[in-house]
């Protein structure tokens, strides 16, 4: 942080303002993490290392804090989202790159617009279309992990498509023409060159999308059913860490015994997200 010598003092003003902004953000992050860690510590103080944490029974007002159903719910829902969204996003990206390159700017704008749609809208869409469809096909209630996962898939699709387009667009025209000039068919060029070269950026995009899916709350809550038991199938209603946080935040405001289990759940999510970020960094390093 040594000031650069030989320059007028005023030169640093903007730099310092920016630096303060960054510092503020850093502190906010630290503060949130610290609050969650503190809450977790309080939880341990209040309830000991409650063995029920690893169980499946969740009754926070009765000292039963089984989080497995929610962890399972989060994992399953996120998995469905990425498994469904990734091939679709890739299809969009390949179509744009290969057959609609002149419309790419417009398609990017449309996709960016879709990214801005509030998640409740997706939730509403899931509630009015997806849940009844699943109910009609399966004869089950329709509110399910599957519905949650599919809503998330649609929700992350624009983001994932944009990132995939960017990834494929980074593949140099020189490489593509080099491949074609060697007698490669367009399909071969796509499979052996374009997708192969973009696999690291695509992986990175997927991890970002997983992060977004993992953190989404409202849209999932609207269609997942909120059932607190361990789900026994994709068609079973369930809950995720985020939806249960939303449901219980008003039951267990700060000061109520059991409140700190929410801090613990939030901390779990934070750690998972951080793991995702680390993974992105790792994949970036591999690609170098």
């Amino acid at each position: 942080m040594k000031p650069v010598t030989g320059r007028p003092r005023g030169d640093h003003l903007l730099y310092r303002v920016v630096w303060l902004g960054a510092l503020l953000l850093l502190m906010l992050g630290f503060a949130i993490a610290a609050i969650l860690v503190w809450g977790t510590v309080k939880f341990v103080i209040d309830h000991g290392l409650n063995p029920s944490l690893l169980g499946t029974i969740y009754q926070p007002t009765h000292d039963q804090f089984g989080l497995l159903p929610f962890i399972a719910g989060s994992l399953v829902v996120t998995m469905i989202a990425i498994v469904v969204a990734l091939p679709l996003a890739l299809s969009v990206a390949v179509t744009v790159i290969a057959t609609l390159p002149r419309q790419m700017q417009m398609i990017r704008q449309i996709l960016s617009g879709l990214v801005a749609i509030p998640s409740v809208v997706f939730g509403w869409w899931g509630l009015s279309l997806l849940v009844p469809s699943i109910r009609w096909i399966s004869g089950r209630p329709g509110f399910s992990l599957l519905a949650g996962g599919l809503v998330l898939a649609i929700m992350i699709l624009p983001t994932l498509s944009l990132l995939s387009i960017n990834a494929l667009d980074r593949v140099s025209v020189r490489w593509v023409e080099g491949s074609l000039a060697l007698g490669a068919t367009p399909d071969q060029t796509l499979g052996r060159l374009i997708l192969s070269v973009s696999r690291i950026p695509l992986l990175e995009a997927s991890i970002l999308a997983v992060g977004r899916a993992l953190g989404e709350t409202m849209a999932v809550q609207m269609v997942i059913g909120g059932r607190v038991l361990l789900p026994h199938g994709l068609l079973s209603p369930g809950a995720t860490l985020t939806t249960q946080l939303l449901t219980d935040i008003s039951l267990l405001p700060p000061g109520i015994p059991g409140h700190y289990v929410l801090d613990f759940m939030a901390l779990l999510l934070l750690v998972a997200m951080y793991g995702m970020v680390v993974l992105v960094e790792r994949t970036r390093r591999w690609s170098l």
Partner: protein, 270 residues
């Protein structure tokens, strides 16, 4: 040196939330009076319906309304973080006993079933067994061959609190689908064959079977006779300003209560 300073700031921010004084934290801009209301979702429409004209009659007073659930409403007032709490809980948490209360009346809790269930009436013990998750098919109760799906509200809801008193241990089925709002419960029950749920009734609710309990029909013209209800109430700290108390009282007597299904309990034995 510089680094130590950064860490001091970081820790300062981290510790900030705990350094708040417990009482009277609302920051008041000069010349403005702020009143904050927080609590049960079921009372928010009523409050929002009433506030504009009250604010017009009290220039310089700004009222904010926040949803947060009954528990949060009572706690916020008890801790001095809000001026008026809205709650429909019973039994009351201990902290609410010290507060001044302005009851608004009653809000009927209706039991609703999907129209395809084929059941119009349940005995009270049948209702309890259904809600406990012990009856799995409507056929058992003389209805159609449809699996029973219980739709409920989260534990923070006042209607749920009433239900938890009604259904003895082990309590409401853990298999239940949880919907966050009254409207979501209604929509879910209306659209899901086999569903049964409960809503805080207000005019305009339809498309579902209003279940009779023990052959007592849910009759909207004779709500006062219906034994299942919550008591939405506004809470204020005893030391609150007269303006706050006045607002709470006006809210509890608001002429718009009927629009939201709130009726007076007069003449009905408790």
């Amino acid at each position: 040196m510089r680094r130590r300073w950064i860490w001091a700031m970081v820790w300062g921010l981290v510790l900030l939330p705990w350094s708040y004084p417990a009482q009277g934290t609302t920051l008041k801009p000069l010349g403005m009076h702020q009143i904050s209301i927080i609590g049960a979702t079921s009372l928010i429409p009523l409050t929002k319906r009433f506030l504009p004209e009250w604010e017009r009659r009290h220039p310089g007073v700004v009222v904010s309304v926040t949803a947060g659930g009954s528990w949060a409403g009572i706690l916020a007032v008890a801790e001095g973080q809000a001026d008026i709490g809205m709650a429909d809980l019973a039994p009351l948490p201990k902290r609410a006993l010290r507060l001044d209360s302005y009851p608004a009346g009653r809000l009927a809790v209706a039991f609703i079933a999907n129209s395809d269930d084929g059941v119009k009436n349940l005995s009270r013990s049948q209702l309890v067994q259904v809600l406990q998750g012990r009856i799995h098919n409507w056929q058992t109760l003389g209805g159609h061959d449809k699996p029973v799906i219980v739709v409920s509200r989260p534990m923070s809801s006042g209607a749920r609190a009433m239900l938890d008193r009604l259904v003895p241990a082990p309590g409401l089925s853990a298999d239940a689908i949880i919907q966050l709002s009254n409207g979501a419960v209604l929509k879910t029950v209306r659209e899901t064959p086999g569903a049964i749920g409960y809503v805080e009734w207000r005019p305009g609710m339809g498309g579902v079977t209003m279940l009779g309990i023990d052959h007592q029909v849910f009759d909207t013209s004779r709500l006062a006779a219906w034994p299942y209800y919550t008591q939405p109430t506004f809470y204020v700290a005893p030391g609150a300003s007269s303006l706050v108390k006045q607002l709470a009282e006006m809210l509890s007597r608001s002429p718009y209560k009927a629009e939201f299904g709130i009726y007076r309990a007069q003449g009905i034995p408790r």
